[in-house]
């Protein structure tokens, strides 16, 4: 590709939205419109059938898009592209909520000794916890509990299936080599 075409390619790739011809011209105003049009053609034809992406003219301008035939595979893999395991912080927060539900954010913060707001938001987003009610007292805080999908993921029938904490404390207190980074 010519330098001008390579510049357009880079700009179209980095842009968060389709770029209009005017915007592309503004990248290198001295080049002039016809040179930009030519360079745009060059970019488009270099992404022919030989590539997994193509330069597409859509209503608002030009944009690189993945070819339709790969869209489904990529979409399907999307979830796989995200980390599937919870961080230690998320697990701790989840454990507190599982055993103390319904429980408010302040109480979780207090037990963990750190602000847990962001972690809890993530857990809500992932559908593992949800607001189940409001507490009594000042400001009627939102109280959280675990969701059915939490049980489902762990393969538990209901919350009664969770091991009781008393057993847990005794059983796991010392000998386990906790906190081995994976």
């Amino acid at each position: 590709m010519q330098p001008l075409a390579k510049l357009l390619e880079a700009a179209l790739f980095a842009a968060s939205r389709p770029l209009t011809l005017e915007e592309l011209i503004s990248l290198e105003p001295e080049a002039g419109e016809s040179a930009i049009r030519g360079a745009l053609d060059e970019v488009r034809s270099s992404y022919g059938d030989e590539h997994g992406v193509e330069l597409v003219e859509i209503a608002e301008g030009w944009q690189f898009l993945t070819r339709r035939e790969y869209a489904e595979t990529i979409d399907r893999a999307q979830f796989a592209l995200r980390p599937r395991r919870l961080s230690p912080a998320a697990l701790e927060t989840l454990a507190i909520i599982a055993y103390r539900q319904p429980v408010g954010r302040l109480e979780v913060d207090e037990i963990r000794g750190v602000d847990s707001g962001a972690v809890m938001d993530k857990l809500v987003e992932r559908g593992l916890i949800e607001v189940v009610t409001r507490g009594e007292g000042l400001g009627r805080p939102l109280l959280y509990g675990t969701t059915p999908s939490f049980l489902e993921i762990l393969g538990l029938k209901d919350l009664e299936d969770l091991p009781r904490l008393e057993e847990l404390s005794v059983a796991l207190r010392r000998p386990t080599p906790v906190d081995e980074p994976e």
Binding site: F13, A14, A15, S16, R84, L91, A95, R126, D179
Partner: protein, 247 residues
């Protein structure tokens, strides 16, 4: 945050910007560089005096981190003055710990420069700017191992000094009661006054008043009634909403 402060020290004349220092160690390193002295054989008396005068000038003598360092420097300075016997192998240089920290910190500063340059260079390359809207993919098959959850619970338990008891805060406001009372009044009267709504007459407590007030606002919000006052601080008139108003 803070305005840059210029300080002229003797002939060397250096310009100090407060934001430039990320802490007392940074300031200390700055002084050492200015004086071109040997870190490993720190002229502690001189550096301590300079440190004190700089934090005084910059108003940093209010900041705990700087004060702590000032105290440390003065202590080392005093220890250096203590007589020691010749050939005393046991003698430990009171500066040793500070020198170790300074060297370590100097290394960190070196890394900061490297990190800064690396980030600058990375910023010259852009990734894809466009983010496709999330696909309607099936929900992520998140994996949580029960054992992981249990050891997390165990970690949490170990943090709790003693079993926590639930504090149950009694809820003194009785908004439901007040709402019922007002709704009963609305059945019977088109209009009534604030004191009717509160009920309890002279025995009404602050809790009664608050409960009633919240109930009235709630009912007004639900368009069950309208609230009006003829003048500021005048008596409140409560009026049953007409069906049209309620709609």
């Amino acid at each position: 945050m803070t305005t840059p402060i210029t300080r002229d020290s003797g002939g060397s004349g250096f310009v100090v910007e407060l934001e430039k220092f990320s802490g007392p160690l940074d300031l200390l390193l700055h002084l050492i560089r200015e004086d071109e002295v040997d870190i490993t054989d720190l002229p502690i008396a001189k550096i301590a005096d300079q440190f004190l005068s700089v934090i005084q000038d910059l108003g940093l003598n209010q900041a705990a981190d700087y004060l702590e360092m000032a105290a440390r420097l003065l202590r080392i300075k005093a220890q250096m003055l203590l007589p020691r016997r010749l050939g005393d192998d046991e003698w430990e240089d009171p500066r040793a710990e500070l020198v170790r920290r300074l060297l370590e910190y100097q290394q960190i500063r070196e890394l900061v420069d490297w990190f800064g340059r690396a980030a600058e260079r990375k910023a010259e390359r852009f990734g894809r700017g466009y983010e496709a809207p999330p696909a309607d993919a099936p929900p992520a098959p998140l994996q949580i191992d029960l054992n992981d959850l249990l050891s997390a619970a165990e970690r949490v338990i170990s943090l709790i000094p003693e079993p926590m008891l639930h504090r149950v805060v009694p809820r003194p406001l009785d908004v439901e009661g007040a709402t019922a009372r007002i709704q009963a009044l609305l059945e019977k009267h088109d209009t009534f006054g604030w004191s009717d709504a509160v009920g309890g007459g002279p025995h009404a407590t602050l809790v009664d008043v608050l409960s009633t007030f919240i109930a009235l606002l709630e009912l007004a919000k639900r368009s069950a009634l309208t609230l009006s006052q003829s003048e500021p601080f005048g008596p409140m008139v409560i009026k049953r909403a007409t069906p049209r108003e309620a709609a």
